[in-house]
Amino acid sequence: MKTTTGAALLRTLLERQGIHTLAGIPGGAILPFYDALHGSSIRHILARHEQGAGFIAQGMARATGRAAVCVATSGPGATNLLTAIADARLDSVPLVALTGQVPQALIGTDAFQEVDTYGLTLPITKHNFLVRSVAELLETVPLAFQLAESGRPGPVAIDVPKDVLNASITVGALPEPGRVQPPPRCADAPIDELAARLRAAHRPILYLGGGVIGANASALARELSRRLDAPVVSTLMALGAMPDDDERFMGMLGMHGNKGTNLLLQECDLLFAIGARFDDRATGKAAEFCPRATIAHLDIDRAEVGKIKSTALALIGDAADILRRLLDRLGSDEHQRVERRPLAGARGYDTPMSRPAWRARATMLRDAHPLHCPPRAEDPLHPLNLIGFLSEQLPADAIITTDVGQHQMWVAQAYPFRQPRTLLTSGGLGTMGFGVPAAIGAALACPGRRVACVSGDGSILMNLQELATLAELDLPVAILLFNNAHLGLVRQQQELFYGGRYSASRFDRTPDFAAIARGFGLRGVRLDPGGDPLADLADALAQPGPCLIDIPIHDQTNVYPMVPPGAANHQTLTAPELEPALATSSSHD
């Protein structure tokens, strides 16, 4: 039996969860916890804004798959965390957000720095707690980690009033740390049926979502595609699950996906979705998505099945377990065992098709619709050329974070991701300002790995203050700033869909980002388009320590292909017919 305070108990419970690093900012209501951290084995990363702390924790969680912790005080500390919590919710990232609260006697009195954190976090968390007594911590903290990591991962918020942190408690045995609870096992019958349907399908496609990476099932999904000889499409969140150079990999689907990929989906007769949620950016107009396909859907979250599209076959459970059992039912060269039924009265897309012919069709469509990009020698600072060059400079296990906008889509289209968890990006919420703090978190969680943050001149300013944190920690993070002096994706949409009426998308004055970086204590470089910018880029990347590389890119370059918002995926707009003038223009500044 030992008498301790709530704050010290909280620290001990975090230590027992295996938390060795957390990010936060102190303030009045959470000060007892910070006092307890003094002398703890836990390393505290002092962010410069609570949203930065939230995304540093997200970077740790996304890079490792384990729950990470961010800390803030009551009131503005808590409200500043909200965006990072909501972001974790939409991308199913395990996060435990710890906030101080005013003493319980003051709750409801409009006290200094009082805000209803419980109410604010309720709709954006997987679950949330307001701790009402020091003894509740013994149950709440392990449960928070269990909930954050089990099933479909997500953020959990724990709001702790200051009097709970200060209260004394005599504790006997401490509770076991919260652990991942395995989901209920999927029955055999649907797996049998799926195996039969996959065997009988003429035009199957595997559609991978972020859940494949969350379940550590990437290698199994790749093996399934090999056994079936079936093409694979990926959402933004699943990039890295399939190596980019796999012959069956068709790249990203959806709004900025490959045109050939979106066209192939039109012909599919059996779509097997694995850990994907039929997001509107992936499906386009849902009613016209995969119009000829029967859908089989594997997900750990039952509520995702049938949410957007009618589904013939549901498989609820852990993707790795279900794929393993599915593979057990399929021969080692399943695609060569032709058991396909002839289809009565079938014509056109409905005709029987051998697997090699289907794959050849996929390859033909992919090769017929490449990304359009001028040769590197002609236009080295074209964004797609820059990303290609960047991938040549970085090791295969480098972690790439992005912000949100055109640069994010260019990375998704052109960076050859080869391993899971090497792309960290804000997919669901689309949060500008994600990139720099997430890169800090990834570098903290993966010592020895190279981290690059591809950002834009709009996004970087949204969490610029974390450059101070980065300089202080001296982590191997390179920030590549694609600078077009615009909110580029907004400008693009105004050009394409709002008659070229540009409203609030151009910056009349842009800062000297290299000087700003130097002011924070980082290396700051601006590439000179008139010199040898790629050589300068390679040089900047080769030097140790954090740096910011300001890269001037053309301000009229659009992301193509693009499906107009609300349109069907087969209505993809592509570059050449839309930008004939740009084909000859390559001036940069």
């Binding site: 419980y118 109410g119 309720l122 709709p123 997987k126 679950h127 949330n128 307001l130 909930l147 999927c186 029955a187 019958a189 649907p190 049926e193 007769d269 000829r292 396909a293 029967t294 859908i295 979250d301 039952r302 509520a303 099945v305 049938g306 949410k307 009618s310 589904t311 013939a312 076959l313 549901a314 498989l315 609820i316 459970g317 289809l343 079938a346 409905d350």
Partner: protein, 115 residues
């Protein structure tokens, strides 16, 4: 060429046990953990997912550790989504359909008030 597209007719019963359709309105019975915040979680879910909720009755049971709630979910085309999202809430212990109850159950409660 494809099979009938319906969750309703799925033979996949064990993995998809709530794959049925019923005429609206429907009364759902929830067993929930009884503590502050549970009601917010449930009503907040209906609000943010734009589900329809017409009536609620709630009372603690046993020693007060849990409560039972009856929800009148009226004219909701996505009833299955409602049930599945409710089942995901940590404080919701079970979700069942009360086929024996309808809107009249709720209106009778008010009718019982003395004039």
């Amino acid at each position: 060429m494809t099979e009938p597209l319906s969750t309703a007719s799925s033979p996949n019963v064990e993995c998809n046990p709530i794959g049925y359709t019923r005429p609206a309105p429907t009364v759902l019975e929830l067993r929930v953990r009884n503590h502050p915040g549970t009601m917010s979680h449930i009503t907040g879910l209906f609000a943010r997912r734009a589900f329809n909720l017409d009536a609620i009755v709630c009372a603690p049971e046993g020693g007060g550790e849990t409560s039972r709630m009856l929800l009148l979910v009226a004219d909701e085309p996505r009833l299955e989504q409602v049930e599945r999202q409710l089942a995901k809430l940590h404080d919701v212990l079970s979700v069942d359909v009360r086929v024996d109850l309808g809107p009249a159950f709720f209106t009778r409660l008010f009718a019982a008030k003395p004039a």
